[in-house]
C-alpha cells in the first residue's frame, strides 16, 4: 500500500468517547456530511469541538467510538477534514465504519498514550510507523484483507468491484 504519509496536528480526546458525544442523536436525521461535520463532538466539549480543523489527527484513549453504530459520526469526522484517528483501542463498529469509509484508524496503545494535544504527528501506513515529538512507533502488520479494503478506497469501491466480477462470471 502506498498511500501518502499523513501529517497533522493532534486533537486529544479521553477514554470511552462514545458516538453520542461524537455526534448527538438529535442529528441522526441529517445525512448531509457538511452539516454533520458542523455538529462533530458537540456532546463532548464545545471548546474541543470548535478547535478541530481540517488536517487534524484525532487521538483518543481506550474504547474510542463506543456505543451506537451511527456511521454519521465517521461522516462528520471526515467532513471536518480529520485525516486519521489514533486510539489505544477502538469499539468494533466504529472501527469498521472508519475502515469502510477509508478513514485511517490506527490502534496503538503506546502511541495513543504518548501523543499530546497540539503536537505534530506523522503516520506512514505504507511503512507502518507513527511518529510524534516523543517517540516513533511501529505498527503491527495489517491483515491482507484490510490492506485490500484500504487500497480500494473503502467498502463502496470494494463491493462495486465484486459486483462487476459477478456480472462478468454470468
Amino acid at each position: 500500500m502506498s498511500a501518502a504519509p499523513i501529517e497533522g496536528r493532534v486533537v486529544r480526546l479521553g477514554d470511552d468517547v462514545d458516538t453520542d458525544v461524537l455526534l448527538p442523536g438529535a442529528y441522526l436525521n441529517v445525512t448531509d456530511p457538511a452539516e454533520l461535520g458542523r455538529h462533530l463532538l458537540e456532546g463532548y466539549d464545545p471548546e474541543v469541538a470548535a478547535r478541530v480543523q481540517a488536517g487534524d489527527v484525532v487521538v483518543a484513549g481506550r474504547n474510542m467510538g463506543c456505543g451506537s453504530s451511527r456511521e454519521h459520526a465517521v461522516l462528520a469526522l471526515r467532513a471536518r477534514g480529520v485525516q486519521a484517528v489514533v486510539a489505544e483501542s477502538f469499539a468494533r463498529i466504529f472501527l469498521r465504519n472508519c475502515l469502510n469509509l477509508g478513514l485511517p484508524a490506527v490502534e496503538h496503545p503506546a502511541a495513543a498514550r504518548a501523543l499530546a494535544d497540539g503536537e505534530r504527528v506523522r503516520i506512514d501506513l505504507g511503512a507502518g510507523t507513527v511518529e510524534g515529538e516523543r517517540g516513533r512507533w511501529e505498527l503491527p502488520p495489517q491483515p491482507p484483507f484490510l490492506t485490500e479494503l484500504l487500497r480500494d478506497g473503502g467498502l463502496v469501491p470494494w463491493v462495486r468491484r465484486r459486483l462487476h466480477a459477478h456480472d462478468r462470471e454470468r
Partner: protein, 428 residues
C-alpha cells in the same frame, strides 16, 4: 468426530466461514439484513453508489421505521418516505411502519415477534443493538450503513472472527432482580470495554430461568461491554415462544454449545441473592445496587421503553409497582411499549388503564427519547431513570442531563417515590 464447538463457531461455520481462528477475516453469508430509518437513510444512498440496483434477496431484508417515527419533523418524514419507497421498489415485504402496517415497533423487538429471527441465524443490522437477536440463539451483529449496503448488495459481509467468551451466572437472584440486572451485573464486573470484539455466550440457571423477554434484555446490552454479539442457548422456552410466530415451525431446533467447547475467555458472575442494580451516568458500566447509591437521586422523568425493556414483562413489572398508586408530583412517567403487539397485549391485560390511572403517559412504539430523538427529551439539569441501555452524556437530551439505567420495577418505584429507591420501599 470434529472438536466440540461453541454456538458462535457453529453459526459462523454454517454461514461459510472456513477459518475460525479468532482474528481471521472472512466473508459470511447473512440470513437477514435489518435496516432502520436512520441507518437506512445513508445505506440506500451507498447501495446506489455501489452500483447495485437490486438487493440480493428481498425476502431476507427487513426495514423498520422506528427511530424518528412517528415522524418527528419533515426531514424525518422524508427519510421514512424513502425507506418505504425503497422497500416497495425492491419488493421487501418485511416492512414495518407503525400506523400503516399490521404490526410495527422498535426493530429488534418487532423482528423477533414477526418470526424473522431463528436459532442459528446470522443477522446483520444497521444498529448496534442487533445483538438482541442472541436471545433467540441467533448471531446478531451490529454494523454501520456502508456495511448494511454491502450486505444488501452481496448477501455477504466481511467479518473478523471473534474471540468467544463463556459468561456463566451462578446462583439465584433475589426479588425484583430481572434479566436487566444480570447484564448490568456483568457490565459492572467487566466494564464497558471488557468484551471488545468478543462473542459472549451467556449461560447458567439464572439465564435458563428467564423468559424470552428477559433474555432479550440480557443480550441487548452485550454491545455495552463492547461485544460483537451476545448469545444464549435456544431451548424449549425459545421454541415455544417462536413456534406460533412462524409459518413453518417444523425446522426449529434447539442450539447449544457442545460439551467441552473451548472458549478464549471465561467469566463467572455470582448473582445469588442479588437485588436490583442501577448504572450511573455517564457509563453503563458504573453499576451499583439501587440501595447503595450513597446519595439521594431525585428524578424528573421515568422512561420505560426501548428495544429490549419495553416488552410485556417490563410493563407488567412496572404495573406491579405503580398500579393503584400515583406518580409523584413533579415527576413524569413515559411508557413506550416496544411494539404494537406489546401495546395491544398491555391494553388487553388492563396495564394501560392502570398506568393511565397512575398518571403515566403511554406512547406509540418508537425509539423516541431513548437516543434523545423526540418524545421525552431531557432539559439541562434534568435526571431520568430509564429502562434503556445507554446513559452516555447527553444520550437522552441536553449534555447536562443525567440518565440512570434500571429495570422496570426500579423505574416504577422511582416514579412513585420521586427518587431512586428499592422497589420494596414502595411496594412494602
Amino acid at each position: 468426530m470434529s472438536a466440540p464447538r461453541t454456538m458462535t463457531a457453529k453459526i459462523l461455520a454454517a454461514h461459510g466461514l472456513e477459518e475460525l481462528t479468532p482474528g481471521a477475516f472472512g466473508l459470511a453469508r447473512v440470513d437477514r439484513v435489518l435496516v432502520n430509518d436512520v441507518s437506512g437513510a445513508v445505506a440506500i444512498r451507498e447501495l446506489a453508489r455501489m452500483g447495485a440496483e437490486r438487493v440480493f434477496d428481498p425476502g431476507r431484508v427487513a426495514c423498520v421505521a422506528d427511530h424518528f417515527w412517528p415522524a418527528k419533523d419533515a426531514r424525518s418524514a422524508e427519510h421514512v418516505a424513502r425507506l418505504r419507497a425503497f422497500a416497495e421498489a425492491q419488493g421487501i415485504e418485511a416492512y414495518f411502519e407503525a400506523g400503516a402496517t399490521p404490526t410495527a415497533g422498535i426493530e429488534h423487538a418487532v423482528i423477533a415477534e414477526a418470526g424473522l429471527v431463528r436459532p442459528g441465524d446470522l443477522l446483520v443490522g444497521g444498529d448496534s443493538h442487533t445483538c438482541t437477536a442472541g436471545a433467540l440463539g441467533a448471531l446478531g451483529i451490529g454494523v454501520g450503513s456502508t456495511d448494511l449496503a454491502a450486505a444488501m448488495a452481496l448477501g455477504e459481509l466481511w467479518l473478523r472472527v471473534p474471540e468467544t467468551t463463556a459468561v456463566r451466572f451462578r446462583g439465584t437472584p433475589g426479588p425484583y432482580a430481572t434479566g436487566k440486572d444480570l447484564i448490568l451485573a456483568l457490565l459492572g464486573r467487566i466494564g464497558v470495554d471488557g468484551a471488545t470484539y468478543q462473542a459472549l455466550e451467556l449461560s447458567g440457571p439464572a439465564i435458563d430461568a428467564l423468559d424470552v423477554d428477559g433474555r432479550l434484555a440480557v443480550c441487548n446490552m452485550a454491545v455495552e461491554a463492547g461485544a460483537k454479539s451476545g448469545l444464549v442457548a435456544a431451548d424449549a422456552a425459545t421454541i415455544a415462544w417462536l413456534a406460533p410466530r412462524l409459518e413453518d415451525p417444523s425446522s426449529l431446533a434447539p442450539l447449544a454449545p457442545d460439551d467441552g467447547a473451548a472458549y478464549e475467555h471465561e467469566v463467572e458472575v455470582d448473582v445469588d441473592g442479588m437485588g436490583p442494580l442501577v448504572a450511573r451516568p455517564p457509563s453503563p458500566g458504573d453499576v451499583r445496587p439501587v440501595d447503595e447509591l450513597g446519595e439521594a437521586v431525585r428524578v424528573d422523568q421515568v422512561y420505560v421503553g426501548n428495544c429490549a425493556n419495553g416488552m410485556i414483562s417490563d410493563l407488567r413489572q412496572l404495573v406491579d409497582v405503580v398500579g393503584g398508586r400515583r406518580v409523584a408530583p413533579g415527576v413524569r412517567l413515559i411508557v413506550v411499549p416496544a411494539t404494537q403487539e406489546v401495546h395491544r397485549q398491555a391494553v388487553a391485560e388492563g396495564l394501560v388503564e392502570a398506568l393511565l390511572d397512575a398518571g403515566a403517559m403511554v406512547s406509540p412504539p418508537t425509539c423516541g427519547a431513548c437516543f434523545g430523538g423526540h418524545m421525552g427529551v431531557l432539559a439541562a439539569g434534568e435526571t431520568a431513570v430509564a429502562t434503556t441501555n445507554r446513559n452516555f452524556r447527553g444520550r437522552m437530551g441536553h449534555r447536562d442531563s443525567r440518565v440512570f439505567l434500571a429495570n422496570a420495577y426500579v423505574a416504577g418505584a422511582a416514579a412513585v417515590a420521586g427518587e431512586l429507591v428499592h422497589p420494596s420501599e414502595v411496594v412494602g
